[in-house]
């Protein structure tokens, strides 16, 4: 609860910053506030609290909130420069902070109304942010496209909630669990679960509900894309898993086979489409779709280890993504192009950028000793434990395809002739972000227990 209050207050303070003209002080204030929010959230670890029967701040919620706050902290450090060039800095920051409120609600809800509100707060803010580069038609298009399709998906989510309410008479997760178990063969239950799943699959960009993702990711400003690929994705999967593990774990027969096919489709579409991309941004967009597929494997194979697998995957994926997007941001601003060719031969003049990008790509590809390897490994392990060997096989093949396109970037960096030997300027904030993310990626790759031990 403290987290929610701090984040909301920060958002409102951000709005006031415009009026009272302390824009300069806003950025440190936000970092401080996020630190405070992190502190108060972490304090609730092992002290589960239930708020008005609507939010259950158990360890799951605490850990995911903390993960989201850390990612958000890194994101702010990365995005500061971009937003300072724009005029409505305070609005941007306020929207991000509000969306964080949504994300925290999404990981801690114990009532479907809260789930819905959380998703909507997060989505509405991100719709606007995607369109926030007002002079860019691509950004406008992306925001509108996201909004239109998002509303459509929300419709199905709401329909699902309605059907579940119709059969169970409650929005509360615990009573839904018992009621669903009692009426497990009712058509309403099945239809409700499936529609809820479709709504959440849209938010987490699982095929065939992923079509928005590549376009929106590409059109939105790079910083916002980063936010979508990291915080939004983490929150979406945390909510997805929280809902399905609490309410529908007893009726897996109704939904796992459908999700199974969605995962296979997502892995295929995401990875194969990424192979031919010239633009690194679009490549990362498709890769984000593909990674949603891997994470969803842990949802399909619901079991004891799924929670830690999802946590580890989303967190390490987010960190590597921040790294990759930050470098893309720096390079594309310097070269004016987001294509892979912009990265060619940059290793000589920019050792830090090249190394950080390599680590990020290796992690996304799942190659030890980076964290991405264990992320995939744990996800596969849950699947094996649940007997989904075929799925693992498909996922491993998909991962092989993935290695191909991630290595295209590394090859461009190291094995192509230098284009220019002028070092790209990297600001101190970006430098810090890159150093932190790279170290974390390697550290978690060597000591996965640093994350896994918590849950």
């Amino acid at each position: 609860m403290n987290t929610l209050i701090i984040l909301s207050a920060l958002g409102i303070i951000a709005l006031f910053a415009e009026i009272f003209r302390f824009r300069k002080a806003l950025f440190p204030l936000i970092l401080l506030g996020l630190g405070g929010a992190f502190f108060f959230t972490a304090k609730e670890y092992n002290h589960p609290q239930i708020f008005l029967g609507m939010m259950n701040f158990d360890n799951y919620a605490v850990i995911f909130s903390c993960a989201i706050l850390i990612i958000a902290f890194l994101w702010f450090m990365m995005a500061k420069n971009y937003f300072l060039q724009e005029t409505s800095v305070t609005d941007h920051f306020a929207l991000i902070l509000f969306s964080l409120v949504g994300a925290v609600v999404m990981v801690s809800f114990s009532n479907l109304t809260m789930l819905f509100l959380g998703i909507e707060i997060l989505s509405v803010s991100v719709y606007v942010l995607a369109a926030s580069d007002k002079s860019n038609v691509m950004s406008n298009e992306s925001g509108f496209k996201y909004f239109l399709m998002g509303s459509f998906a929300t419709g199905f989510l709401l329909f699902g909630i309605t059907l579940i309410y119709g059969i169970t008479g409650s929005f509360d997760l615990a009573s839904i669990h018992t009621q669903v178990a009692a009426n497990h063969d009712s058509g309403l239950v099945i239809a409700g679960i499936l529609l809820l799943m479709i709504g959440l699959a849209f938010k987490s960009s699982l095929a065939p509900f992923h079509f928005w993702a590549p376009d929106v990711y590409e059109g939105a400003p790079t910083t916002v894309t980063t936010y979508m690929a990291t915080v939004v994705k983490t929150a979406a999967f945390a909510a997805f898993f929280r809902l399905f593990s609490t309410c529908f774990a007893g009726v897996t027969g109704h939904w796992t086979d459908v999700l199974w096919w969605m995962v296979v489709l997502t892995l295929f579409v995401g990875n194969v489409s990424a192979v031919r991309q010239k633009s690194v941004k679009r490549l990362l967009a498709y890769s984000s779709v593909a990674h949603a597929g891997y994470i969803a494997i842990a949802v399909v194979s619901m079991g004891a280890a799924s929670t830690s697998a999802i946590l580890y995957y989303t967190f390490t994926y987010s960190i590597s993504s921040i790294s990759a997007f930050t470098i893309l941001f720096i390079v594309s601003r310097h070269k004016g192009s987001k294509d892979i060719s912009a990265f060619e031969g940059m290793s000589k003049a920019n050792p830090l950028l090249s190394f950080a990008m390599t680590v990020a790509m290796l992690s996304l590809a799942g190659i030890p000793p980076t964290a991405g390897f264990f992320a995939k490994y744990y996800v596969f392990l849950t699947a094996i434990n649940a007997g989904n060997t075929l799925l693992v096989l498909i996922a491993v093949i998909a991962a092989l395809v993935g290695i191909y396109y991630y290595f295209r970037v590394i090859i461009a960096i190291y094995f192509k002739p230098e284009q220019q030997l002028v070092p790209i300027k990297v600001g101190p904030l970006h430098r810090t972000v890159l150093i932190i993310t790279t170290i974390l990626t390697l550290l978690f790759g060597l000591f996965p227990n640093l994350i896994l031990g918590w849950i």
Binding site: L4, S8, G11, I12, L15, F51, L52, G53, M54, M55, E86, T87, S88, D91, H92, A94, L95, F98, S99, V101, G102, V105, N111, T113, M114, L117, G118, E120, I121, V124, S125, Y127, V128, A131, S132, K134, S135, L163, G166, I167, T168, G169, Q179, N183, S186, G187, L188, I190, A191
Partner: protein, 164 residues
Amino acid sequence: MTVYLFIILGVFAILSALMVVFTKNPIHSILYLVLTFFAIAGEYVLLNAQFLAIVNIIVYAGAIMVLFLFVVMLLNLNKETEPHKSILRQLIAVIAAGILLIVLVGSLKGADTMTIKPFAQNTGYIENLGQVLFKDFLLPFEVSAILFLAAMVGAVMLGKKDIK
């Protein structure tokens, strides 16, 4: 009696909703939408939810639809400005949506809903609504404030001109 009224209002709501889609003139569409809202408000009254009925009319039929009208008129949209859409595409869309409808109806046919509470005289009264809203659902009520704030900030941000 109420059953007949329910059916009549329901048919009316569906028909006007269809007209929203089928009329070419955007202004007519909006007016049909207002009609739809009235029909639905009527259904609310039949369900003893007078407050919802009034809110529905004031907020949707009143405020939001007027806003829509303003926007449409300000942008001077009419039949002529609507770009042409191919028949094939429309056909595909209709078929797909139709299939979804059939599938949903088919799947929910014969499903039983749960009766939680027997119908009482004061069900749907403002007092009860207030009790539920400010006691059981206090947190969602408060949190929705953030949602509206975010939406407002977003609208202002997208709407205002950049100061150079």
